[in-house]
């Protein structure tokens, strides 16, 4: 074996190693490419029907259990439009009841300012866009890969609301009031319509459990305008309707702001 032979062998060895490395890199790139391209669950062009249950993440004075049905169309793998509607079971929290009873027992307060964030959502319907550009897989155990989408949901619509005051009561006795100022229905008066515009935002995961079935977990915010009366003379308040409140000097608060109802939603979707 002379110098020429060694030179040829050396060149070929280098070429072989570089070719091997390049082939490995290309294989790895191909694996990644195929893994991204070939989604196991592609939803583009497919309709879906779903049901969701939402519970309040931070109930302060009100709590809601929102039951929704949803129909959506995935116009692409990364974009969908969805119509949601349903009914929220709502009520005052125990904290709210406690606040009310303590207020009625306390006669030292002469001017009544109603509390904020007491509107309770009942029926609701929103139309939104779901932006779902992230598709991924994770291993729950070594042998159970789970495919998911991460999405952001933005939309708006309307809700039917009701409101029961904690402190405005024209005919209370002791620490109880069986006749609180109560707003419900379509004719709500100056305090604002009981039908309010609603903006809803959500961030969530959709886990595919089969080609036609998915489970959704999301945090959803419902935003709507708040309104309440303040400056009511407690001594002259007789009755619990809006006219009585205004006769007692009640005025709508100029700083009512926006109520944010944040919920955790658990949902199921059937994808056609």
């Amino acid at each position: 074996m002379n110098r020429t032979t060694l030179r040829i062998i050396g060149c070929l060895a280098v070429a072989m190693m570089s070719t091997q490395a390049r082939a490995d890199d290309e294989d790895a790139a191909l694996v990644e490419k195929v893994a991204v391209r070939n989604r196991l669950y592609s939803v583009a062009g497919r309709w879906e029907l779903g049901a969701n249950v939402g519970i309040s993440l931070l109930p302060r004075l009100t709590e809601h259990y929102n039951l929704n049905l949803a129909v959506g169309i995935n116009v692409a793998d990364w974009l969908a439009f969805e119509l949601r509607g349903g009914y929220a079971i709502s009520r005052h929290t125990s904290l709210a009841d406690d606040v009310a009873s303590k207020f009625f027992a306390n006669t030292s307060i002469s001017k009544i300012k109603d509390l904020a964030d007491l509107w309770q959502m009942a029926h609701n319907a929103v139309l939104g866009v779901r932006f779902q550009p992230i598709y991924g897989k994770l291993n729950l155990t070594a042998e159970v890969p789970v495919h998911f989408q991460l999405y952001v949901w933005v939309g708006g619509g309307a809700g039917l609301f009701k409101r029961e005051s904690l402190v405005i009561c024209g005919n209370h006795s002791g620490s109880d009031c069986g006749d609180n100022y109560f707003v419900q229905g379509l004719s709500a008066g100056d305090i604002g319509g009981a039908i309010k515009p609603v903006v809803s935002l959500a961030l969530g995961f959709r886990f595919f459990i089969a080609n036609h079935h998915a489970i959704k977990l999301e945090a959803r915010d419902w935003s709507y305008l708040d309104s309440y009366y303040e400056g009511i003379d407690r001594a002259t308040l007789v009755g619990s309707d809006e006219a009585a409140i205004q006769r007692a000097g009640g005025q709508l608060s100029p700083n009512a702001g926006i109520t944010n109802l944040v919920q955790f939603d658990l949902g199921y979707s059937f994808i056609f």
Binding site: V36, K102, F103, K137, L138
Partner: protein, 368 residues
């Protein structure tokens, strides 16, 4: 002639390695297109036969897309010297043991971690921590931490930091203003700082794609630990002329659990999004270390416009009572002894609670 044969043998060997048409691949692809695999890839109708080492001309039943007809290995010498495979052959080609050119193949790729953690130290800065269940309190803070990854799925963790904003919530203020009611002292306890040690487990690892291209790797992080923290309580709310005043409520034993994502940006950098529940017991039996008797004695002295030091010098206070906190005047010129009434009432109406401070942690980490 010997040189030519040697050259031909080496060239053949090179091309064989460069174009692994039918090779039993290493575990780069953990679940290849095996006919009886238990993986979810089973759902896809892979038509390829098992590797036999011989070329087959059986076409796949699903035509390949145009972009799929360009094998990545085409640039290799071997591929360059061969005719471009037909569609069927192309789809049969095994790369790392799987027919990756077949558009029907979904590859289970999550088992291989591009950025292993074992043996590495991770420094984490949680730039913002924000309480998300603040009914009567609201906290915002900054924390730092170290994680020593003993293996891929388990590490030891130390986390600590302070809440640069710790105040009673707007609801508490509203209740005080409108209905003359506030939360119990123990329920409104504010956490000023905390240090915790514990473990971090990453049982779930995954990848996701943004649109159809960028791949990212993530872990789901579960953490738990215990530690100690400082607490305080608002004695007087701020008004137009005076800042809020607070009483020190002492050290608290903390426990915590957390759940979150760690998004691997590169080999050394990661982003963390976590939710942590810090649990601590609150018992409002002392303010600034002074119990009810201490506070009553101090208030009696203050009501008589006598120096508070006299009570301390007379040995009428418990050893832990930091009476200086009620002595003198604050920056607005208001006597600090005016907090004694509120402090005494808080301790008199003894309250206790177990507080869950659920916070969102947003941070970045560097892996050494």
């Amino acid at each position: 002639m010997r040189f030519v044969m040697l050259l031909a043998a080496l060239f053949w060997a090179t091309t064989t390695v460069a174009a692994p048409v039918f090779t039993d691949a290493p575990t780069k692809v953990a679940q290849a297109a095996s006919s009886n695999s238990n993986d979810d890839d089973e759902d896809e109708p892979v038509k390829s036969p098992a590797p036999t080492g011989t070329t087959t001309t059986a076409p796949a039943k699903t035509p390949a897309k145009t972009e799929d007809k360009k094998p990545a290995a085409a640039a290799t010498p071997a591929a360059a010297t061969e005719a471009k495979p037909a569609d069927g052959e192309d789809q049969m080609r095994l790369v790392s043991g799987a027919p990756l050119f077949n558009p029907n193949v979904a590859v289970h790729i999550v088992e291989k971690k591009d950025h292993p953690d074992v043996g590495r130290l991770e420094a984490v800065l949680y730039a913002v921590t924000a309480q998300i269940n603040g009914k009567f309190t609201q906290h915002f803070g900054t924390q730092g931490g170290l994680v020593w990854h003993l293996n891929e799925n388990f590490g030891l963790q130390v986390t600590g930091g302070g809440n640069w904003y710790n105040e009673e919530s707007s609801l508490n203020s509203e209740l005080a203003e409108k209905v003359a009611a506030t939360a119990q002292a123990a329920t409104a306890l504010l956490l000023t700082w905390g240090v915790m040690g514990g473990v971090e487990v990453t049982p779930i690892y995954g990848k996701f794609a943004l649109f159809e291209s960028t791949l990212a790797h993530f872990s789901i992080v579960v953490s738990g630990g215990a530690g100690v923290g400082g607490s305080r309580l608002m004695l007087k709310a701020a008004n137009a002329t005076q800042d809020a005043t607070y009483g020190d409520m002492g050290l608290r034993f903390l426990t915590g659990i957390g759940l979150g994502f760690r998004l691997q940006v590169s080999d050394h950098f990661a982003l963390r999004f976590e939710v942590r529940d810090t649990v601590y017991t609150a018992r409002a039996d002392r303010v600034n270390g002074c119990n009810f008797d201490d506070l009553a004695a101090l208030q009696k002295q203050a009501d008589q416009s006598q120096p508070l030091r006299a009570v301390a010098d007379a040995g009428k206070l418990s050893g832990s009572c930091n009476w200086e906190k009620f002595d003198g005047v604050d920056t607005a010129g208001v006597k600090r002894s005016s907090d004694l009434t509120r402090a005494k009432n808080l301790v008199k109406d003894l309250s206790s609670d177990v507080i869950n401070n659920v916070s969102f942690f947003l941070g970045a980490s560097f892996l050494f």
